[in-house]
């Protein structure tokens, strides 16, 4: 099944304009090289779901004008500070923001993974996060009179896009401890994965690797992309390129600075 293996350009061809696109947080394997391929091709009107938060990847997508709606619990460059293009877009009203809280994103994806129409969640009642989410409901706990609980509709992304350390030619993808990547693959209609390395053996034949492997059943396409999460870190493989991240944080404070960074980034290969 080497039909699973594609180039980065072929990989991101699966992300259409207007798609609901789920992406992981910075420490879980962000597909930065694939994001560059996506922006080079041009994409617009994305509904991005940050699982459960996002960083430079989504800030760049916003800055490039590719995002219509963003559902997330936070956008931040971490130790490099605020996400400037996100901040500007919210202030200018150029994106629709659906503010969430981390476990709500996880729960709503788990509902989709389980084929449930909704899942309850504790907390939230009395918060403005809830007030502004017209798509959420407060219901009664059927087992305790007077106990109210928030019901979240399932989130079913069109596409999940992330980066992982290892895959095989069949499309099985090893994700290690980042188990939320398995949830998002189960929950999404299509799953696109860039990986550091594609090996010949079948990962499911190794009982130790298999236990943390997303089976190809849920994977649409994979593409090799060494250092594909850079400038972000990939746990166990490489640290963050803090110089580039700091340079981005500074440059993106203005629209012009962002545009210059983006032009350079789109033509670079790492």
């Amino acid at each position: 099944m080497s039909a699973m293996v594609s180039t980065l350009d072929e990989l991101v061809a699966g992300i259409g304009d207007g798609a609901m696109l789920a992406v992981p947080k910075d420490f879980s394997g962000v597909a930065m090289a694939a994001t560059r391929a996506l922006l080079k091709r041009g994409v617009k009107d994305l509904h991005v779901v940050g699982v459960p938060v996002c960083g430079i990847q989504v800030d760049i997508l916003i800055g490039a004008g590719a995002v219509q709606t963003l559902e997330t619990s936070a956008v931040t460059l971490g130790e490099h500070g605020a996400a400037p293009r996100f901040t500007a877009a919210v202030r200018d009203g150029t994106i629709q923001i659906l503010d969430a809280t981390c476990p709500a994103i996880h729960g709503a994806l788990q509902a989709a993974e389980k084929g449930l129409p909704f899942i309850p969640i504790r907390g939230l009642i009395g918060s403005d996060v809830l007030t502004h989410r017209r798509d959420w409901r407060v219901i009664d706990n059927p087992f305790q009179a007077g106990d109210r609980v928030v019901a979240l509709p399932a989130i079913r992304p069109d596409v999940a896009l992330f980066h992982a350390p290892l895959a095989d030619r069949h499309g099985n993808v090893w994700i290690g401890r980042n188990r939320e990547l398995m949830t998002v693959a189960h929950a999404s209609a299509a799953t696109l994965v860039s990986v550091e390395e594609i090996v010949d053996r079948n990962l499911l034949d190794d009982p130790v690797l298999a236990a943390a492997t997303i089976p190809e059943l849920y994977v649409t396409k994979i593409a090799a992309a060494p250092r594909g999460a850079a400038p972000l870190a990939l746990a166990g493989r490489y640290p963050a390129d803090t110089e580039t991240l700091a340079r981005y944080a500074q440059a993106a404070k203005t629209a012009e600075g962002f545009r210059a960074f983006l032009d350079e980034w789109l033509t670079s290969t790492t």
Binding site: K25, F27, S28, V51, P52, V53, T72, S73, A74, V75, T76, G78, E79, A82, A83, F86, T87, V90, R91, D92, G93, I97, D99, A100, T101, C102, P103, A104, H106, G107, Q110, I121, R122, G123, L124, I125, G126, S127, D128, V129, L130, T131, H132, G146, D147, R148, V149, R177, N178, R179, E180, L181, M182, T183, A235, G236
Partner: protein, 248 residues
Amino acid sequence: MADFHDVSAWRHQTETLVSVIADLLAGCRHVAVGAQSPVPGTAALLARRESAGALRVSVLDTDRHSPFTNGACELFDCAAEGRIDAFFLSGGQIDGQANINLVGAGTYPSVDVRWPGSFGSAFLYFLVPRVILFREEHTRRVFVEKVDFVSAPGTSEPGIYRPGGPHALVTPLGLFHFDRERARFRLASVHPGHTVEEIVAHTGFDFDRDPAPAVTPAPANARRALMHEIVRGEIAEIYPRFAARFLG
């Protein structure tokens, strides 16, 4: 206020904050701290040492110091099961009812100043018994009468499931306890070198206080020594930049 020209004054203040927070963790079995929270992290590791191992400390988003193996949802699941006793939250704005705002100042959604977002606060604030609010800027910009956006409310109506909530507020000027019944902060102690008047001047909400509040005790020498040892060791590994500044 976060800009210290005098690094030794910052170190002195940080020692006080670490010491105050460590005291607030007494009796806990499990505290979780964020990967970018060096002061709470140092306090938690100090409390662990002093507990002779009875306190478990989980540092999120680190491979070596996080116990979690079930993905990014596990912190929240773990808290909801009652397996986490203490956690730290902060806010771009915090008001007198302990409501916190991590979203922005101004009218939502097109706020004047946008912050990253609510993260897990709208959940953890309800479920972790001892939430410690920590903010290194003590100004009227932060401590407002009423937050512009409630990321997570300080208190809830009767009937709302809420085993958790705000326990204390720690700033560079003082320590406040939170009274959940009255939905008000009470100034518990003023840090050395500061005054009640200074705190009142820089706090935008009304709070309870004794006529002459206590002065926050300086950490004992043994505790200071332990703190330095922890910062040199465990903290230098997790928060290297903080450790370098602290140790000089």
